[in-house]
């Protein structure tokens, strides 16, 4: 089983987001991690590769600064890595780069998170699948293999559905597809020696442009209500907030 796992390189979930004067993310003091949903995809891929004597290749589209994040994925159990050397512009750009790499090999599965936690587009899995002419499943919360058939479950509003698909396919994953894996010392040591190939980006036209960023307006003070005065809370919700 040859699995390609696409990972994003995103600010740690507890990061307080700020922007610089020229409208870029202010990365001072920000720690970057593997996208939380991508982490689930990677964890399941490593398990499946273990069960099938397969291989996991991780792929990131990003500058040299993403290499520590890629090494972490190698430490978790990926066999080798590819970095497409380009600053991601938007979902379409990232998808086109992934497709170029995917076309070089016959991957049985292409897994990634359901969305990245920076640009939250939720589009890359669908774009990649359509460009490659493959079926896609997202948000995928279970993935098992039986020969060339995969059984999966997909989260839907108010529940989930079970699905079946033939390899190859693309899936955008989320929990509880697998338990996150934390790299151990051996993994970290061996990751240093695993191959990390850097490839140039393919030329594509940029289709959207990010002109400006803004933060949500600051919250006003929280109005406190005494715990034995719920009549007052109901009145406030009705008359002041007008939400019930």
């Amino acid at each position: 089983m040859k699995i390609l796992v696409c990972i994003s390189h995103v600010p740690d979930t507890t990061t307080k987001i700020k922007f610089t004067a020229d409208n870029k993310l202010d990365t001072a003091g920000v720690q970057f991690i593997i996208g939380p949903y991508d982490d689930y995809a990677l964890a399941r891929a490593v398990e499946i590769a273990g069960e099938t004597s397969g291989t996991v290749t991780v792929l990131n589209v990003g500058g040299a600064d993403t290499e520590p994040t890629i090494r972490k994925a190698l430490a978790i159990g990926a066999d080798d890595a590819i970095r497409v050397d380009a600053e991601p512009v938007d979902a379409m750009f990232v998808a086109k780069q992934i497709v170029e790499v995917a076309k070089q090999e016959n991957y049985d599965m292409i897994l990634m998170g359901r969305e990245s936690s920076d640009y939250n587009g939720g589009l890359v899995h669908g774009l990649v699948a359509e460009m490659l002419g493959m079926p896609s499943i997202a948000p995928c919360m279970k993935l098992d293999l039986n020969g060339n058939t995969a059984t999966l479950s997909r989260e839907i509003e108010g529940g989930k559905e079970e699905l079946e698909v033939q390899l190859p396919f693309v899936a955008g994953c989320q929990e509880p597809i697998a338990e996150w894996k934390i790299p151990n010392m051996r993994g970290i040591m061996s990751a240093r020696k695993k191959p990390l190939k850097v490839v140039p980006a393919v030329d594509t036209e940029n289709v959207t442009s990010y002109d400006a960023f803004s933060l949500p307006p600051a919250k006003g003070d929280c109005k406190m209500v005494e715990p034995d005065n719920m009549t007052e809370l109901v009145r406030l919700l009705k008359e002041e907030a007008k939400v019930i």
């Binding site: 939720g122 499943i137 509003e157 719920m230 939400v243 019930i244």
Partner: protein, 316 residues
Amino acid sequence: MSVLVFVEADNGAIKKSSFEAVTCGAKLGDVTAVAMGDINAGELEALGKYGAKKVLHAADSRLNDGVIAATALLVAEAAKKEGAQTVLMARSSLVDAVAARVAVKLNVPVASNVVELPDTSAGFKVKRGVFTGKAFAEVSIPGDSRVITLAKNAVAPEEVGGTAAVEAFEVNFSDADFGVKRTSVHKQEGDILLPEADLVVSAGRGLKGPENWGMIEELAKTLGAATACSKPVSDMDWRPHHEHVGQTGIKVSPNLYIAVGISGAIQHLAGVSSSRVIVAINKDPEAPFFKAADYGVVGDAFDVVPKLIEALKASN
């Protein structure tokens, strides 16, 4: 501008978020809606009230299964037929993947999670939610056509009182379009769907165990709200996964979000902070949720929630 809006139904009834999308579309131009599978005829006509001029209905029952590839082909074919410049859809568990595939089929740009009416005064600009609700981005989409997906509550549904002609619509699907087979569905029936809900009552680890959810359900029922929970609660199987909200769960933006016994960790807030009004009930006065909330009650949930239910019932 010619606008195609993909509308989704649940149990034969059009979703509220789809009416939001039709309203948004009608503010941008002439709307044709496209719908699939079994939907009540009256529901399709009701799209006219929100501004749709025409409804294309693909009754093919295979589309009831919500297969991503087939749905994308349907929407792309409808967009071609109508010469749509903007394809609009309300975000859902199906739509992100569909929108992406439609954009590739039509060879047009795509932007998802759009949080307000696009600005068409000069070109086409959208405001998107980014960094998991912690920021917004203004994005220019050049060219004549595009696909966008709308976040929940981005545009309030508005009845403008027109009528829509419903037309049957057929697409030549191949077997490959239905390559993903649905083998079973597990769905809680009768509940208000969390992503669609206007009011949400959510509870966390402070409730101590699944046996204590009775009062949360009663509070939700009294309000006509959906129920939700924090991640540890679904991780421990106290509640089903589809109720888990936050950065790694569902993102909601209801008019009212009541958080009971939830600390307000940044990852939880990431999924709920765009709610219009937030009430936090927590026994710890230092709980971070109070910094994100509009109204706060410092108290024991087991004491406060029954009193709140009583006060709500008395006020009805």
